[in-house]
């Protein structure tokens, strides 16, 4: 076999999957056709678009701190996993209107990010719709969602019923402050040893918090886009 034929063999063997797996699907998925709601099936009209907010810096902080190592952001169809049936993972079991908003992930859920943090491991829970869970937990403790997340980022295991968590603390996202500082920005709490701790969130902590609170990937999609089986 000549060198030219050898290289040609490599080009064909690699080039074909390169086109079919990478180039064409990437092009197609980057230019998705708009999908319309069907009035009969969906009870509404119009074109579907994601209502996920645009927090690229928060997404970058999420990636830079390796949150994707332990958390996923993907609700798989039921043939691929049971994510849909975990409480409040895929949306809300019951929203304010008593509706079940849970659904599997769609490409538009990631449309406003540069990279979809699908994740590699589920040591922690899926975060596709963690915004709802954080708001509920904050309310149950009488805290604002932001204050609750700051505390969770600083001392993830210092909450009742969370001592088993292996989530690491993220002090690098905060600056230490005096426990007696009088500023609305200061987060104060008692650590496990009963010592009063005070921190000021850096811009990274604020961006990550906004990003986490925005994760509510359960807006209604046209029935033609999502298969939502009965439990």
């Amino acid at each position: 076999m000549t060198f030219q034929k050898f290289i040609l063999g490599l080009v064909v063997a690699f080039g074909l999957p390169w086109l079919l797996l990478i180039v064409i699907p990437f092009g197609k998925m980057s230019n998705l056709e708009a999908v319309s709601f069907d009035e009969d099936e969906d009870g509404r009209v119009g074109v579907y678009s994601s209502d996920q907010q645009h927090y690229q810096f928060g997404s970058a902080v999420y990636g830079a701190n390796g949150c994707y190592v332990c958390h996923t952001q993907l609700i798989r169809p039921t043939y691929a996993g049971s994510d849909m049936w975990r409480d409040n993972w895929a949306g809300q079991n019951k929203d304010a209107d008593d509706q079940d908003t849970r659904r599997e992930s769609v490409p538009q859920d990631y449309a406003k990010e540069t990279f979809a943090h699908i994740g590699i491991n589920r040591v922690g829970q899926d975060l596709s719709s963690v915004g709802y869970r954080l708001e509920k937990e904050a309310a149950s403790l009488g805290l604002s969602p932001e204050a609750f997340i700051y505390r969770r980022l600083l001392a993830p295991r210092d909450f009742v019923g969370k001592h088993w968590s292996t989530c690491p603390s993220q002090p690098q996202l905060f600056k230490k402050a005096s426990p007696f500082a009088k500023s609305q920005n200061v987060v104060t709490f008692e650590n496990a040893e009963g010592e009063l701790q005070a921190y000021v969130p850096k811009k990274e902590a604020k961006a990550l918090t906004r990003y986490l609170l925005s994760l509510k990937k359960d807006n209604q999609v046209p029935a033609s886009m999502s298969y939502k089986p009965a439990k």
Binding site: L21, M29, S30, R76, G81, T114, P168, P171
Partner: protein
Amino acid sequence: MSNDSTKSIDAGLRTAIDKSVSNPVMFFFTSGAVWLAVSVLLGVFTSVKFHTPSFMECFGGLTTGRAYAAHINVLVYGWCFQAAFGTIIWLMSRLTRKEFKSSATVLVAGHLWNVCVGLSLVGILIGKSTGVPWMEFPKFSWVIFLILYLFIAVPVFTQFRVRQGGHVYISQWYLLAALFLFPWIYGTANIFVHVIEGSAVMAAAVASWYKFALIFLFFLPIAFSAAYYIAPKVTGRPVYSYNLALLGFWALVAIGPWMGMQELVGAPIPAFLPYVGATATILFFLPAITVGLNILMTIKGHETLAKQSPALRFTTAGTFGLLALGGFAIWLNLPSVMKGTQFTITGYGFEMLALYGVFSMLIFGAIYFIVPRVTQREWLAPGFIRLHFNISVYAVIAIVIGSILFGILLPGVAQEQFSASWKSSANANLASDWFNTVTWLCALIANVFFCFHLALMWARLGRHSKHPTLLVDHHGGSAHGADGKVQNI
């Protein structure tokens, strides 16, 4: 010309070739080994953080996520690439029977490569990671790595093109394929992830594809190239079946580019992509068994040599690792199993089996063969090599049990019990995490010995002897085998 004078000319040529590549090869092996030790240390740290998150919490920036990214990237770009470069340069020079003329260029590129790895590691640790698995190094680094790669690879290609004709051996096929495909793979991944603004979820699919393409179309071909060189050289017999070798090569080249996207099964990407990836990964069993059996059949009948020769011992172990990798490639990609393994530590275990249990073990074999030739010295301490081998094997076994098997049986099963609390699923990871600590502690001990031994060899402190260093002492005789100059093989 008599046989004796031909042999003498051949030995002289080999010595000249070995001298011409000595500096870049030893540089890549030694600096790679240092990065391996750093990566393994980060592996210990990460695994401890997984089961004991308060461990060294005072070092704010060194969180589990950052340390994990640093561990993987240093392993891949610090150790695997540099070990591969050293092996490529030596093998291509020996197989083309020509002295290497570009040592200085390659050495400069090698130094800059290390600077880039170091700066990128700092980047990850201070929070500048891209957050893209296996591509976490800050964005600036990829163009630099690609340019430096070209400064290393082009001279090797040139070395091949200016050879004086003759048969092209299977090892060269693997080297050329890896060298040719890497820029295509690396460029594609980085352009689609970092440059083109398009589908975020397809960017994630490309990142998964990149991991597998890098392992199966760059690292493993170079390791196979080394195994196809070492096994016949040490046993003194030709490859068992050359046709089988060619079949294995083309099977890998045809199957490898389709692998990887099975990691995104259930993600909102075209549904065929993950299933094509799973099918191709299952089919990897074909090149795995073809290469594995061919190497083992070449060694068959020389089991004593496989015990005595450090190079052949590591090559044999790496080949068994390859057969295990082929078996797991089938099992882990069955649709019924994928449900429970997609988001568990099993994927990490599979990757580590490929990088440590196969690639690194085969490359360790190559290093134990190459270093005495390029330094003109013999390995100092058979005990160090024996320790390196034994503890490395324990580490690989711990990877298989702790990450792959426990990953499936514990968190894999628990994650599917959707009515149970998440606590039970999270706690199911602990056994794997503790096993991983043992794995990387074993690897750390093994590689401290390896690194130290290699550094002594680089410092020309090896034994000046006519006896190769062997691992088995015969009936109280020399541990260094029969007389014979190292250049004679």
